[in-house]
């Protein structure tokens, strides 16, 4: 029902407001004293509050990095848990400042939803998890299977495409939230549950018996996950994009949470520009020049955030793969601070 409420509030806002809030997001955030970030809320590794209410995850860290850059305080973020179905409406209506909720960047979303994607923070792809008892080792053996899926996702569409293009039949059971879909899979309603493969690793840990389930090797789609902002506020989009680039650059130059203070004295001009020892790069974003220093100091670089939340240092143990730096054969390529 939350979704209907959000959509209704959007409709009312559009119908009766003189002009929906567009530009000036940074100014609004500064005045408010905190960033409002749309996050997942139920996905281990990406966005999940612990029992004390502290949010953790890869997307969560990204929002904290933005807050660190603006306020020099990563706790000045309010997280709003969103479902796949209500996330864009929440962004369009101005309920949140930035959407960091493992969201795939697609053409139709970019061009018709009034949102702009800032940067691909995670290269993902859709996969399947199945009950081990089925003795299935490939997604191509799933002909005739029942698959649980969350609605309002690219996953829902890829699933139909994949089975169609391989001349297989399937029975989809669609749920409004990932939580419900996973529960139904867990109770045996479906043979398989499908979502982004990073999500599968996270969800597997929440099943009754994680070891009775296996993630299949096939990756059936491209899922470039990206944070997004409302279209029309270009400087805010710039800021969100450069938070990601700064974290990548820091990893590339070997600047970490623990050595950032020493790196401040580095002779390397690239590091000096990044950390604000040289140039006015922060000011041009509407921030202070030590904006990137703040990010690394509080959150760490891209690799640190990855390892801590989804990589080797986490229960998910997702390999860097496509998300390795370009210097290590991956696709993550930090743009130059110049």
């Amino acid at each position: 029902m939350k979704r209907i409420a959000t959509a209704l509030s959007l409709a009312l806002l559009l119908a009766f407001s003189a002009q929906a809030a567009r530009a000036q997001t940074l100014q609004t955030v500064k005045q408010r004293g905190q960033l409002i970030c749309g996050a997942n809320g139920t996905l281990a590794g990406f966005g999940l509050p612990d029992p004390q209410g502290n949010w953790t995850g890869f997307d969560v860290d990204f929002c904290r990095a933005i807050a660190a850059a603006i306020f020099n305080d990563p706790t000045k973020v309010k997280f709003v848990p969103l479902t796949a179905a209500n996330r864009f409406t929440a962004l369009q209506s101005g309920e949140i400042d930035v959407l960091a909720r493992n969201t795939t960047w697609t053409m139709s979303r970019d061009t018709t939803l009034g949102v702009d994607f800032a940067a691909v923070t995670f290269f993902d792809g859709q996969g399947f998890i199945v009950h081990k008892s089925l003795k299935v080792s490939s997604a191509l053996e799933l002909n005739g299977a029942s698959v649980c899926v969350q609605q309002g996702t690219t996953t829902e569409l890829n699933l139909a495409d994949y089975f169609r293009s391989h001349h297989m039949t399937l029975k989809t059971v669609t749920f409004a939230t990932a939580d419900e879909a996973v529960k139904a899979y867990d109770s045996g309603r479906c043979d398989s549950y499908t979502t982004d493969s990073s999500g599968l690793h996270g969800e597997r840990l929440r099943l009754t018996n994680p070891d009775d389930n296996i993630v299949l090797p096939e990756i059936i789609s491209k899922e470039p996950l990206s944070p997004s902002v409302r279209q029309g506020d270009d400087s805010w989009e710039d800021l969100v994009r450069w938070v990601h680039e700064a974290m990548l650059d820091a990893e590339e130059f070997g600047v970490t949470k623990s050595n950032v203070d020493e790196q401040l004295k580095s002779a390397n001009p690239e590091i000096r520009r990044l950390l604000g020892a040289e140039g006015q790069f922060g000011q041009s974003l509407g921030l202070t020049n030590d904006w990137a220093y703040r990010i690394i100091k509080h959150i760490g670089n891209y690799g640190e955030s990855f390892d801590r939340n989804v990589g080797e240092g986490s229960p998910l143990k997702i390999a860097r793969g496509l998300n390795a730096l370009w210097t290590k054969g991956g696709l993550q390529y930090g743009l130059p601070v110049r």
Binding site: L113, G144, L157
Partner: protein, 389 residues
Amino acid sequence: MNSAINSVRHSRQAWRIGLQLLLVAVIGGLIYGAFVNAADNLERAHIASGFHFWNNSAGFDISQTLIPYSASTSTFGRAFWVGLLNTLLASALGVVLATLLGFTIGIARLSRNWLVARLAGGYVELVRNIPLLLQLLFWYNAVLKSLPELHDSIALPIGGFLNNRGLFLPRPVFASGIAAVGAALLVGIVAAIVLHVWARRRRERTGAPTAVGWWMAALIVGLPLATFALAGFPVAFELPQMSRFNVIGGLEILPEFAALVVALSVYTAAFIAEVVRAGILAVPPGQSEAAQALGLRSGTTLRLIVVPQAMRVIVPPLTSQYLNLIKNSSLAVAIGYPDLVQIFAGSVLNITGQAVEVIAITMAVYLTISLVTSLLMNLYGRMTAVAER
């Protein structure tokens, strides 16, 4: 003098009409303004608007479709109709079951049998005081958890299966000649009604009762059956088959559908039971006493004296309960039943991103369904109210 009064009256009337016209104009202007403003804001926010998406290819699958639908070729518009029909199916079945259950429990609550009355009372208090969403989740999980997995399916004697994927029954496949059976059924029903009317007129004229019940039953059941036999039993059954992952073929009843219909019926029945009880209690006891004094038996008294009078009280609140049930069916979204809200205000909204259009259409549809239901119930209410003098 008279003309002066008339002119005052006229001017007052003109004033009143003018005021109402002004109100209509203001409301119309507001709506128009909101519409234009919304379109303007959407444009400025770079959000696509309009209804062009209706004919675009949908691309997602739906688990229960009453009309042909395929992810690859069907449009969003088709998906809308699939969702609407699923909503109507669940609502219609829910209304029928809730009415049957509700009337039974409402009457049982007034029973002179202590145990029956207390059981019915307990049912009402228990069911109507627990939120529907919780009951829905309870039924869904209870249904899913208690049913066996695919490999341990319960094989039904008539050639079907029951497991946690649903209930699979043989599906009748009709051959040509079935149309004649349908026609025979229609003829049977019409003939039975004519017979009934004739019997009533005769009784009113002569006072002599004519027992036509059996004749009517014979017309409605016997005539189609005879035609069916004459046409050479034009029906075959497609049996569901067990495959590696699923049961294939046959008539499939999804656990989501079963849970939704059961939850809606059980919940609404508790309210209907109270409506029925109130309606029956509203008939003065003198009415049944008078009927007994005339020598009518208790069943006949209930059927001819109490119920027709109680219906006048029952129908208006009963309409509200039906409307509640229809609107509550949108909770299906919580358990994955593909109703209108889940398909259209869920998947379609998210794929197209056109929240304003999709929600507006969805609201208009529920409004229409509810108004039509109200209209039908009001017509029925008028029919039952004729006895009033």
